[in-house]
């Protein structure tokens, strides 16, 4: 062995080896320092994230009750099977076993599990309303279904079915648009249930309650080892409505019956081609005119809120959306209609306030009104000539009789006169209409209320700028004012606005903000908040004006020449005098909208009732009988109100 020459070489090579080893260990120490000192806080947070799972338990929502404490929306307990971790349970064995237990097909379950709607760690609901035996089986075999959990969840139930569905609204899973930053701060999670429409949406903050928060220690397989902290959910508060469920049922039933009966009636009497009326929908509003509280809001057709429980299927929702009669629309606050002659209340107020008419003045009704230079003919239509319905000639009439018989000419004249800007200012007519509440939302505590429209030169110019093809010019003519005076043309009101206008007249000139909610109480019964009646505005109504108008409205039902005389024949008007006004709004290409606006008893108004029925002919024929039947119910005149007696060939 030539150790002399080899030794230094081996030694130096060993030194190289030592340097390499020192470098490697230095690298390990450096990395260790980085991970455990510099990066420790974020690793700690990640470890927390890993093992601590925060589970929010939605609180049962508060109930919704009517004014007498009848529960309109309640909760039932439903056992919901959900999967907490989509990623981990993607094993086919678990899926098919679970499908067997839940009695669904593998494919449908797989589709649910892989639904992109949920985040990778959000629980995915797989089955609702699971039977107790399945619940027990899944709980006992938790290890076989590592990420599957069974939880009792409160679901909405509707003791009265679809009655008042439009008012109550429905609930559904919060969507990305609804999950605003403010809501996130309030603790909303994806998948939470939220009020989508109606009272459920308007009073969401009261109804929602406090979700329970549970912190769980979870191992890597998703098995819960320990509960670290738990705050139980607190049920939401109860909301009491001004609705009387009996009145609501009465309104809905009367409206439905009225529409059904109308559909069996020929439209020839209303100047139609002789088919039966289609009467596809309508609305009824019942208000308490003394304080604006809402007793009933009926819309037809409507939907079944139970379809939305536990999430509505896309097919079902599309079916509702694509229905040409729009069952999801609440016609009472979202339907905008030409009100026809019922609008004459506003025109009369405008005329009286401007002094264009007085209660004692007489007017010669020749069956038409000539606007412009063309000579009018009682039989043939002439441009610039505005006729009464059926060319009726009423002769010498005053405000009272003009309302009773529904003379258009009388009110045309007001429209013509008030179009004089120099004398009555801009919007002489429209200001009166707006005073009784038209043209702006009533402010009812329900979402998505329509504003309606009282057209004038400004609105015309604006619409012309927007849709130049729909108008010949952007100018406002006297004829437009004439149409507006009788609730035709572009005039649009909601049934609630119409009812609120008549309520304001009934109570002497106070326009109330219609209120649907009376109070909010806790589950222990403590009153948390009451909603006092709120006056929106007040207008001048001299006693002699009111007397003249009132007797005109009373004459509608009581006088033999009143437009709704036939509809109210046999009704105990001496005991319960009904003040009302018929309306028959022309709709291009369709049968007219039948409207009746009223309040009773006329001497001491307790109820304002408005009925509006689409494509149903004269107000006196379809809407008035519906209102009559509602009064029969409201005044307990017959324990079982009979059929709605639809009239025919009636009056405006």
């Amino acid at each position: 062995m030539s150790t002399q020459s080899e030794a230094p070489s081996a030694q130096s090579r060993l030194t190289v080896l030592a340097v390499v080893v020192v470098c490697l260990f230095a690298a390990l120490f450096a990395r260790l320092w980085f991970l455990q000192v510099i990066d420790a806080p974020s690793a700690n947070a990640a470890a927390q994230d890993n093992s601590v799972r925060i589970v929010y338990t939605p609180a049962p929502r508060g109930r919704i009750l009517d004014r007498n404490g009848n529960v309109l929306v309640d909760n039932t307990v439903s056992e919901v099977v959900s999967m907490t971790d989509q990623k981990a349970t993607a094993e086919p064995g678990v899926i098919s076993q679970l499908a067997l237990v839940l009695n669904v097909s593998d494919a449908s379950l797989e589709q649910l599990v892989n639904s992109k709607q949920y985040g990778p760690y959000d629980p995915v609901p797989l089955a609702q309303n699971v039977s107790p035996s399945v619940v027990v089986y899944l709980r006992e075999n938790q290890t076989a279904f590592p990420n599957v959990q069974v939880q009792a969840e409160a679901e909405r139930s509707y003791p009265y079915g679809s009655v008042g569905a439009n008012i109550l609204g429905y609930v559904g899973q919060i969507d990305s648009q609804e999950l605003t930053p403010a809501r996130k701060r309030a603790g909303y999670q994806p998948g939470d249930v939220i009020g989508k429409t109606g009272v459920e949406a308007a009073f969401e903050s009261y109804l929602r309650g406090q979700p329970g928060v549970t912190k769980l220690l979870v191992n890597s397989k998703g098995v819960v080892l320990q509960t670290l902290a738990s705050v139980p959910p607190v049920q939401g508060h109860d909301v009491w409505l001004s609705i009387d469920i009996n009145d609501q049922k009465l309104a809905e039933q009367s409206l439905a019956d009225g529409l059904a009966a109308t559909r069996l009636t020929s439209d020839r009497g209303a100047g139609g081609p002789g088919h039966d009326f289609t009467a596809p929908g309508g609305a009824v509003v019942i208000l308490d005119p003394t304080n604006g509280s809402v007793l009933a809001l009926a819309t037809n057709p409507t939907y079944n809120p139970e379809d939305f429980v536990g999430g509505i299927s896309e097919a079902k929702f599309d079916q509702y959306l694509n229905n040409p009669d729009h069952p999801l629309i609440d016609r009472t606050i979202q339907g905008v209609y030409a009100p026809g002659s019922t609008f004459k209340l506003g025109t009369a107020i405008a005329g009286l306030q401007t002094g264009v008419i007085t209660p004692t003045q007489y007017f010669d009704d020749r069956g038409y009104l000539q606007v412009g230079s063309n000579k009018c003919n009682p039989v043939f239509p002439v441009a610039g000539c505005f006729d009464n319905d059926n060319h009726q000639v009423y002769g010498r009439i005053n405000l009272t009789s003009a309302l009773t018989v529904s003379s258009d000419a009388y009110f045309y004249q007001i429209g013509v006169t008030l179009n004089d800007e120099a004398k009555y200012g801009v919007d002489g007519l429209q200001n009166g209409d707006k005073e009784v509440g038209y043209g702006s939302p009533t402010g009812i505590d329900l979402p998505n209320e329509a504003a309606g429209l009282v057209p004038d030169a400004t609105s015309r110019a604006k619409e012309y700028a927007e849709f130049p093809k729909d108008f010949e010019t952007g100018q406002w003519f006297t004829g437009d004012n004439v149409n507006t005076a009788v609730g035709q043309g572009e005039v649009g009101v909601t049934p609630l606005q119409l009812a609120n206008a008549y309520a304001s007249f009934a109570n002497g000139g106070t326009v109330w903000v219609p209120q649907i909610a009376l109070k909010v109480t806790t589950q222990s019964g403590k009153v948390l908040q009451t909603f006092a009646p709120q006056a929106k505005s007040h207008y001048t109504l001299q006693p002699d004006w009111r007397a003249a108008l009132l007797s005109g409205f009373e004459g509608v039902t009581a006088a033999s020449n009143g437009t709704a005389y036939a509809a109210f024949s046999g009704f105990p008007l001496s005991q319960y005098p009904v003040a009302g006004k018929t309306g028959t709004a022309q709709v291009v290409g369709k049968d007219p909208t039948s409207v009746f606006a009223s309040f009773a008893p006329a001497t001491d108004p307790q109820f304002t009732v408005v009925a509006l029925m689409e494509q149903s002919g004269y107000g006196a024929d379809a809407a008035a009988p519906v209102v009559r039947r509602i009064y029969e119910g409201l005044f307990n005149l017959s324990p079982n109100p009979g059929q709605v007696q639809i009239q025919s060939g009636g009056k405006d």
Binding site: M1, S2, E6, S9, A10, Q11, R13, L14, V16, L17, A18, V21, L24, F25, A27, L28, F29, R31, L32, W33, L35, Q36, V37, D39, A40, S42, A43, N44, A46, A47, Q48, N50, S51, L217, V218, N219, S220, K221, V223, L225
Partner: protein, 386 residues
């Protein structure tokens, strides 16, 4: 062993041995032996802490892995003692037997005799235990390479190098075929260490390293690796990918990092107790140290490893002959590579490869082979004067 007839004897060696029969035992490096036993004890505690909660949750004996590993450690210590008994120069004479024996065992593994599990065919079932020949092949290769390279007396030309490479390639290929890329790489590390110190020309070493780099690149590029292997190898380069390997690596880093300086305390690590780290009692045992005992525990463990490596290096430098030096170098290369690769893997600076952490990871064959390796070093060290 003693009954095996000796084919060739070194007269000088046996002569000195006879003169002072007790002399080698006076020079035993107890520090190294105690460090190895100490790390094993530490490993037992970590294995217990990493498996206890999971076993309990499955209704099993929480000490299951602990007890089995304790048996392995005892067997390992006995094997270490036995390895020290026989003079390494006599062991060197049996190098061909060890080499051929290990190659046959590796061949048998690939035959139907071998047990197949987790996609790899790597062991024999011996009663309730598994025997992993690849672990012992490492020891056989160390002895074999030391013997042959010492024989070249520091003069390694191209021909000699080729013979060494060819001899190493056989067990490498067989282990790679199992497939056990990690252990195959350990063989490469042993080869590298022995060649470096054994006198290979710097030029050849450079060529070898160049070829190695190209081979690794080619393997990654041309998809020789199976998809999961590739994911494991590249996971540490790309922490944003979604593979299982990346998940494992992230959990591993979280476990170590969340331990901080002083750790969460024994049995208090959420990552460890809730089994977020996969294979924690075997390849990822270091994470149990990191999470529960923090930087202090990790530094203590690494220091013990440094102590072992330093004593091994000392043994290499003081060895009486080249065989002894190269045996120590082989053992050193093996341990350093395994420690660096394993700990580096858990911290995300090395690719994921199934290599056990010496004396720490759960596994009988690895523990026994590691003790045998330390036995070899002690053997060389105690006979530096004889």
């Amino acid at each position: 062993m003693a009954s095996v007839p000796v084919s060739r004897r070194s007269v000088g060696m046996s002569g000195s041995s006879r003169r002072t029969p007790a002399a080698p035992w006076r020079h035993v490096d107890f520090g190294l032996a105690l460090a190895a036993i100490g790390v094993s004890g530490f490993g037992l505690l970590m294995i217990y802490s990493a498996t206890r909660a999971n076993l309990l949750s499955e209704g099993l004996d929480p000490g299951y892995y602990l007890k089995r590993q304790a048996v392995f450690v005892v067997v390992g210590v006995v094997v270490m003692g036995l390895t020290m008994l026989i003079d390494y120069r006599r062991l060197r004479d049996f190098a061909p037997v060890f080499y051929i024996g290990s190659v046959l065992a590796l061949l048998a593994i690939l035959s139907p005799l071998g047990k197949r599990a987790l996609g790899a065919q790597a062991w024999f079932q011996v009663g309730p235990y598994q025997l992993e020949p690849s672990e012992f092949a490492k020891i056989a290769l160390i002895i074999g390479l030391a013997a042959i390279c010492a024989n070249y007396k520091g003069k390694m030309g191209g021909r000699e190098l080729c013979i060494v490479l060819a001899l190493s390639a056989v067990p490498f290929a067989l282990i790679y075929k199992q497939p056990d890329l990690g252990t195959a790489l350990v063989l490469a590390a042993i080869l590298f260490g022995v060649l470096l110190v054994g006198g290979v020309k710097a030029r050849h070493l450079a060529i070898l390293m160049g070829v190695g780099v190209i081979a690794v690149a080619a393997v990654l590029h041309f998809g020789v690796l199976k998809a999961y292997q590739r994911a494991r190898v590249t996971a540490f380069l790309d922490s944003s990918s979604n593979s299982e390997a990346t998940y494992n690596l992230n959990q591993s880093k979280i476990a170590i990092g969340s331990g901080g300086v002083d750790g969460k305390g024994l049995f208090k690590g959420t990552q460890t107790n809730l089994s977020y780290v996969p294979e924690q009692q075997t390849d990822f045992i270091f994470t149990a140290v990191g999470e529960q005992l923090g930087l202090i525990g990790c530094a203590l463990l690494l220091s013990l490893f440094v102590l072992m490596v330093w004593r091994t290096w000392r043994a290499a430098t003081t060895a009486r002959d080249a065989t002894g030096t190269l045996i120590c170098v082989g053992v050193l290369a093996m341990f350093v590579f395994q420690i660096f690769e394993n700990v580096g893997m858990t911290m995300g600076i090395m690719p994921i490869a199934g290599i056990p952490l010496p004396f720490m990871s759960y596994g009988g064959s690895a523990i026994v082979a590691s003790f045998a390796a330390i036995g070899l070093v002690l053997n060389v060290q105690m006979r530096r004067y004889s």
